[in-house]
């Protein structure tokens, strides 16, 4: 008699010893059918459950922080000037975090980005570099900073991919070594940038928006395209998602891993140029602990720390969230220490939410 009835109903009478079971069936029932086929509601569900949904959550979080900012600081917070301050702050962290997004999605980690940033500002502002820049072109400074970043990244990449050094250790060594090298070069002095052409270009506003913010925008758009629309991005997902499967499919996992760290070095170099422009000084203390900020931004953005899944949009929003949070605290004259506690709490909440999401994603 029960053969014709749907399983969810039939079991209600026939399996009394386990009262949990029918409940579970009812709960899994609708989701199971919804994920079948490309029905409009299924597509919508997939969109919400996928990247768009998570980013929506981030936007909501950002709006909440803004609401707190408006409530506590009013006009001081909700002004165009302050918005620009927030974006300028977000820009440097954001560029670093974008490089980090690639590395983490590819199954790695780069602890050296803050130090490499510092080293690139020092190397690009030495007397020799500045003299050469004044005599030839301001681009010399930019080129130097980027070259320092890429070379440091390549050293990381070669050690990790071909030397089989664990990424955590290799980049930790680079963190220490790059900072030390920066101190040696700068002799622990702050090197003031005195190349007017360089400062004119990078401290300018275009359409009322700082060039630093424009650099962030360009890097973010380029990264989004590379991440989502190119073979490089696809390889990154494959290498981070299942390196053995990628290798057996014929992908050169080691070479790709090396390029990922080179890319992270490049973004550290770009962030170095931005730092030079913002502070007009090269210093071995530039970028201290920025690696942790960058990793936190990436994780909050929704990139899986284990690799294989990442989001550039999430990282960008994450960077803005962190900068806004810092701004709200500063506007209310709260200490850096209180900021740190709040950031720590946000990281934990973000990771907990991510795990919940991942578990739900796997079960459907």
């Amino acid at each position: 008699m029960s053969e014709q009835t749907p399983p969810g109903l039939a079991t209600a009478g026939s399996i009394p010893p386990d009262p949990d079971d029918p409940v579970r069936m009812q709960r899994t029932g609708p989701t199971a059918t919804a994920s079948h086929g490309p029905s409009p509601s299924g597509a919508w569900r997939r969109l919400v459950a996928g990247g768009a949904g998570r980013n929506l959550g981030l936007v909501v979080a950002l709006l909440l922080i803004c609401a707190v900012g408006v409530a506590t600081a009013g006009e001081r917070f909700a002004s165009v000037d302050n918005l620009m301050t927030i974006l300028r702050l977000a820009a440097i962290y954001g560029v670093l975090a974008i490089g980090m997004t690639f590395v983490i999605t590819g199954g790695g980690i780069d602890l050296s980005v803050g130090s490499v940033l510092g080293l690139s500002t020092v190397w690009a502002s030495t007397l020799a570099t500045q003299t050469m820049a004044r005599e030839t072109h301001w681009a010399v400074i930019v080129f130097t900073a980027l070259a320092v970043g890429v070379v440091a990244g390549l050293v990381n990449g070669v050690l990790i991919a071909y030397g089989k050094v664990v990424a955590f250790i290799a980049t930790l060594a680079m963190l220490v070594a790059a900072r030390g090298l920066a101190e040696v070069i700068a002799n622990r002095r702050t090197q003031i940038v005195d190349v007017p052409a360089f400062l004119d270009v990078f401290r300018a506003d275009v359409l009322g928006v700082s060039v630093l913010v424009w650099i962030f925008v360009v890097v973010a758009v380029a990264a989004w395209v590379v991440f989502n629309r190119t073979t490089f991005g696809r390889r990154t997902l494959a290498v981070g998602g299942n390196p053995e499967a990628a290798r057996l499919a014929g992908i050169d996992v080691r070479r790709h891993t090396m390029w990922l760290y080179a890319l992270s070095g490049l973004t550290a170099g770009i962030a170095g140029v931005m730092m030079l422009a913002r502070t007009t000084a090269g210093s071995s203390t530039n970028g201290q602990l920025y690696e942790l900020e960058a990793i936190a931004i990436v994780v909050i953005g929704g990139t899986l720390l284990a690799g294989g899944r990442g989001t550039i949009v999430g990282t960008v929003i994450g960077a803005v969230i962190f900068a806004t949070l810092a701004n709200v605290f500063t506007q209310n004259n709260l200490s850096i220490s209180a900021q740190s506690v709040a950031k720590g709490a946000i990281i934990v909440v973000a990771v907990l939410l991510q795990q919940r999401f991942a578990a739900r994603h796997r079960s459907t």
Binding site: P38, A238, A246, R247, L248, A249, G250, I251, G308
Partner: protein, 537 residues
């Protein structure tokens, strides 16, 4: 007897009480019988164990007497490993009874089994390389007072056990990682003895030993049995079983098909007959004769990987399926992986359609048109969190890109074409690969190489984790691909699968090719004989 009145009641707890009483009566009966004869140390009856989608044990009986060496025989997948895990408390049986010295044994956990006196030496050495010999022997039951280890006592007791095993030369303070495989095995055995075990299960203990070490192992086994300890001995080598065994139980497809056979009275032919017998019937497609003039797509000459296999040579023509048969660990998967370049060969060469491959380069193999469907699809083959179409184009997405920019529409179209051709279900290219069944995951692997345009396919255990219905489909696909001109190499632990599918068979035993010939000139008995004895009986 008053129980009968209550049995009419539908109250579940009463029924349970009845069952428990019955079991107690039964066990006292068993004790009576046992006292009269030779009391079995262990008696397993009607053991059933299901796994999702498969019945690993389907009514196994096993009777072990004190002080005997009881050999457990059966092909891969017959249920030996599951049975010993049930015995060791790692799996809980779904049905059946286990009597230990006449009492019901509840092996709810490995610790409980050890406490009762059942110790297990698993096939994979389960020692911790970074700890000392003594620490390994007493792992899990450390000798300690208030958390502080009693080192001197520990070393003294370890020394005593090692001496009993004839290996007083191994220092208890030595780090286990520095010992040879044989030495580590001794440590594993010492651990079993440290629990004062009455029954020691040895799963293929001789696999890592040379002949002298095997002789020592047998000496230890005899000494143990003289002390009344029973040994369950699992090995594929019949000569060992004849040397050291007392009785044999044969498993096949999760059932006991031969129980308590005396080693001296049972000819090899009888054992092999019990272990074999076609189980997958009529599901293999017809084979067309291979064209003798067909192009030789894959040629492997004198291929070797030091310490794993030597001097492997074979060729595969277009349209031909070659099967590699042998036990797990015989080197079959390693041969495939070396041909593919995933391991760097230490000798020999691989040629594809006349062009020699660079050794140790998967990229070169893939470019030359070789595809591998690895044994562990989930960990070695697929990106589980990525959509099906990206899994299918994983080896060829570069072709759907211009200047690095991917054309995902073309990618999806190519994937969809293969999804339709291979009848992969559900036919949604955007679904996560994780959600596919085993058979459809295998189809996705095949689709990957078809999109890439491979002409040489290496399939490692193509039907592992694939249910019976989908198996026939996979077999059909493999033969169909061959008929369309592919050269295919299949590795399988299931001998009938290799024989049913392949045109020619290579039998691999301990890293050597011991037989090569057409699959219709050898039967399952012959292959099994080769695998276990190294020659045709």
């Amino acid at each position: 007897m008053g129980h009968f009145d209550r049995s009419h009641s539908h109250n579940a707890s009463h029924t349970w009480q009845l069952l428990l009483d019955a079991r107690q009566n039964l066990s006292s009966f068993a004790r009576m019988v046992a006292d009269a004869h030779h009391e079995p140390l262990l008696h397993m009856r009607g053991i059933v164990k299901h796994f999702p989608g498969a019945k690993a044990l389907d009514g196994v009986d096993l009777e072990i007497l004190p002080g005997e060496v009881h050999c457990l025989l059966g092909q891969n997948g017959a249920g030996k490993s599951t049975l010993i895990k049930v015995l060791a408390g790692a799996h809980r049986p779904d049905a059946g009874t286990i009597l230990w010295k006449g009492e019901p044994l509840r092996t709810t956990s490995p610790v409980a089994a050890l406490r009762a006196g059942v110790a297990t030496m698993y096939q994979e050495l389960d020692v911790v390389p970074g700890l000392t010999v003594a620490e390994n022997v007493f792992l899990g039951h450390e000798l300690a007072t208030a958390g502080v280890t009693r080192r001197r006592e520990l070393h003294r007791r370890t020394q005593a056990i090692l001496a009993r095993l004839g290996h007083g030369d191994i220092s208890p303070t030595r780090e286990v990682g520095q010992l040879s495989a044989a030495g580590q095995q001794i440590v594993s055995m010492a651990r079993a003895l440290s629990h004062d075990a009455r029954l020691i299960v040895m799963d293929e203990p001789s696999a890592v030993l040379d002949s002298e070490e095997v002789a020592n192992l047998f000496r230890v086994v005899r000494q143990l049995t003289a002390d009344g300890v029973a040994v369950v001995y699992i090995s594929h080598r019949l000569e060992e079983i004849r040397q050291v065994g007392d009785r044999i139980t044969v498993l096949k497809d999760g059932r006991t098909v031969g129980a308590n056979l005396l080693v001296g009275d049972t000819p090899t032919a009888d054992l092999i007959r019990l272990m074999t017998g076609r189980t997958v019937e009529g599901s293999f497609p017809e084979r067309a004769a291979v064209d003798r003039d067909a192009e030789e797509l894959l040629a492997v000459e004198g291929l070797g990987l030091r310490g794993v296999f030597d001097d492997v040579s074979f060729t595969v023509r277009a349209g031909e399926v070659v099967g590699l048969a042998g036990l797990v660990g015989a080197g079959r998967s390693e041969i495939l992986e070396t041909v593919y370049g995933a391991r760097r060969a230490t000798a020999g060469r691989v040629t594809v359609a006349g062009r020699r491959l660079r050794p140790g380069s998967v990229g070169a193999a893939v470019r030359a048109g070789i595809g591998l469907a690895p044994e562990e699809r989930k960990s070695q083959g697929l990106l589980l969190g990525e959509p099906v179409y990206r899994n299918i184009t994983l080896s060829s997405f570069g072709r759907f890109a211009s200047a690095g920019f991917l054309d995902e529409r073309a990618e999806r179209a190519a994937a969809r074409e293969q999804i339709t051709a291979l009848d992969l279900r559900p036919d949604d290219p955007d679904r996560d690969a994780r959600t596919l069944s085993g058979g459809n995951q295998q189809k996705a692997m095949l689709a990957r190489w078809l999109v890439h345009g491979c002409r040489v396919l290496l399939l490692d255990e193509p039907t592992r984790g694939v249910d019976v219905g989908a198996r026939a489909e996979i077999y059909g696909l493999i033969r169909d691909l061959a008929a369309r001109g592919a050269a295919i190499v299949v590795v399988s632990s299931e001998i009938d699968e290799v024989l049913g599918l392949a045109d020619r068979v290579l039998v691999i035993s301990e890293g050597r090719v011991v037989h090569a010939g057409p699959s219709d000139r050898i039967d399952e008995h012959g292959v099994l004989d080769l695998v276990m004895e190294g020659s045709v009986a």
